[in-house]
Amino acid sequence: MNSQSKAILFVLMLVCAILGLALAASVVNACHSFDNVLFLDGAARSARVAQAVEAGETGLKLTLFQNAFWLLGLAILLLAGALWCLARLNKVSERSRGITKLVLTSYRPLVILVLVTLVFSCLHVRFFTVGNFTNILRQISHYAILAAGVYFAILLGGIDISVGSVLAFSGAMGAFILSRMPENSWSALLAIGAALLIGIGAGLANGFFIARCGLQPMIVTLATMSIFRGLTLVLTNGAAISLSKKMAGYGLFTGLGQGAVLWGALPIPIILMALIYALAFYLLNRTAFGRHMYAIGGNEEASLLSGINVQKVKTLAYTISGLLAGVAGIVVTARVASATPTAGQSYEMDAIAAVVIGGTSLRGGEGKVLYTIIGALIIGMLNNILNLTNVSSYYQTVVKGIVILAAVLLDAKSVKKD
């Protein structure tokens, strides 16, 4: 095929894609502006249309709403046409194929995120709003922080399932200190410091057993999970420790979970999360430590023979994981203004799921830390839409499992094609 027909195909693809997306978006938007979601049955839609007509409304939106179903069909046809053009183009053009492959493999989590956002936006009127996104981001912030820590362990080919318990223990310690020093205005700093120290200590302990004693990460962190949960129960005596406004450190401490800047538009947990991911990105991609992490995950023995201090790097990685669990503990405790001894139970599973949905292999040595945040976001959006659409919590559990499976299946499929 000559380059002229390639160009025509390309333009056709663009036109189809843009038209299709625009049409779909305006229909969805029109429906939403009638406070209606797409998947409402025809009868309800007709009733709403009749009501609007009665109220004397007219205009494009009404027309779009009225004809939502077949317009949407048209949009889907257009998008299918765009896909068909892409497929043709891929057959004849090396470059197009390259770009498609790049998008589908390197940017896969992003693609999934966009798809998920599109679908969910159709499912509820309020999903695609700034308020709701701030909401989701704030909700995932502590998961995402935990997941960043777990990412370090997984990158090494290990795992850290103690993070949920460490979160609980450090949060409880923070609350404990605040509640024991109600007068001391330094107590907030002390509480934060102690929580972070606990995180670091827990991580060091994990690191010690894994890196120095050569035990398997799964079983070590299983044991420390139990130990830190027990210590939390002992510290709190099994009851929640609540923070009250009367405590001197209340404002500063809870600010970390509840505060916001930019006139309330940007919650502090989101900023913390962003900062932590920026730091993690820098550490992993711009420093020697990061290189060593990838190397050890890829081939531990070769790394040792290359003169890398494997034990040190591993210990450091688990320490970071613990530290971030400590940070997450502070955020959670600050957010709900109390520390419950059962906090963080089974969070490790969500954190692992976030890392894996973010395209990181549990075998280690590969992955992008920033995609972990996308993994967390996808899980957060899923929880959010299931809540918004009032799906029974029993089914939520089922759906979540299916989505995790689907996400990793997509991953595996496109990996195999390489």
Binding site: G131, N135, L233, G238, A240, T340, P341, Q345, L388
Partner: protein, 274 residues
């Protein structure tokens, strides 16, 4: 006009709250309002998340059974700020104003249950306790009730064992077997929920001990059956269905501009064979 009531329940894998949820849904359907019911899964952070989602979904009213009373204040303030009134059910909200509280007293329930056991034991002997999930507030409150009753009973009553059964039937059964092994003199057991009480019943039966007095909590069907059979003595009945219905009714009353009592009682009682 469409009204949507959101209900946040602390743990819908627990029958008590399932019953409450069903009642809220049924009452809502009856009165023609939409209901959204979310599960806090015993996790304060998830609870907060759920409330935020309800606010995002733009519900008109929230019935709130918080996972943790203290943690609840912040989100209740948020909801109030968003113009959504809140009624708390079963567990109160500490540190924030709610429209009303529909109360059911876990501490009291634990206390009357234990008192009954002590009475049947003739005021002396060895008693044991199987507690709920470590750190869960219902577990703590019921345990507190147990402690109060024991303290009141004087030193003729000895607590030989107090273990945590995680609300789990099988775990409770194992614990009861071990208690019977270590302290065969045990005469009564208080279990913090009926699932665990059933475990204790099975342990006693399978060890040929029909003399142990077992009292549970929640008045679940399985416990009522066991009481009928005589293998369990009693269970504490809270009235989850009634509480749910009261919640919906009062919410609608409030939205219609009528006055609502600041505290509404849903009595706690012991259910025995008669």
């Amino acid at each position: 006009e469409d009204i949507t009531i959101g209900a946040l329940l602390s743990d819908t894998s627990n029958t008590f709250f399932v019953t409450m949820a069903d009642a809220i849904e049924a009452k809502g359907a009856e009165l023609g309002v939409k209901t959204i019911i979310l599960d806090g899964a015993n996790d304060s952070a998830k609870d907060v998340t759920n409330m935020e989602d309800l606010i995002a979904a733009g519900v008109d009213f929230v019935l709130y059974n918080p996972v943790d009373s203290d943690a609840a204040a912040a989100v209740v303030e948020k909801a109030t700020a968003a113009g959504i009134p809140v009624i708390s059910i079963d567990r109160s909200v500490n540190g924030a104003e709610v429209v009303s509280h529909i109360a059911s007293d876990n501490v009291y329930g634990g206390k009357i249950a234990t008192e009954m056991i002590i009475e049947l034991m003739g005021g002396e002997g060895a008693i044991a306790e199987i507690q709920g999930m470590a750190g869960a507030s219902a577990a703590n409150e019921r345990h507190q009730g147990f402690d109060e009753a024991i303290a009141a009973a004087g030193d003729k009553i000895t607590v030989v064992s107090s273990q945590i059964g995680d609300w789990d039937t099988t775990k409770a059964m194992g614990i009861m077997e071990n208690i019977l092994m270590a302290n065969p003199e045990v005469k009564g057991v208080f279990c913090a929920n009926d699932n665990m009480a059933i475990g204790a019943v099975q342990a006693c039966q399978q060890n040929g001990r029909s003399d142990v007095i077992i009292v549970g909590f929640d008045a679940e069907q399985i416990a009522l059956d066991a009481i009928e059979e005589g293998t369990m003595v009693a269970t504490v009945q809270q009235q989850p269905a009634l509480m749910g219905e009261l919640g919906v009714e009062n919410a609608l009353k409030y939205l219609a501009g009528e006055a609502v009592e600041p505290s509404i009682g849903a009595p706690v009682a012991l259910v025995t064979k008669d």
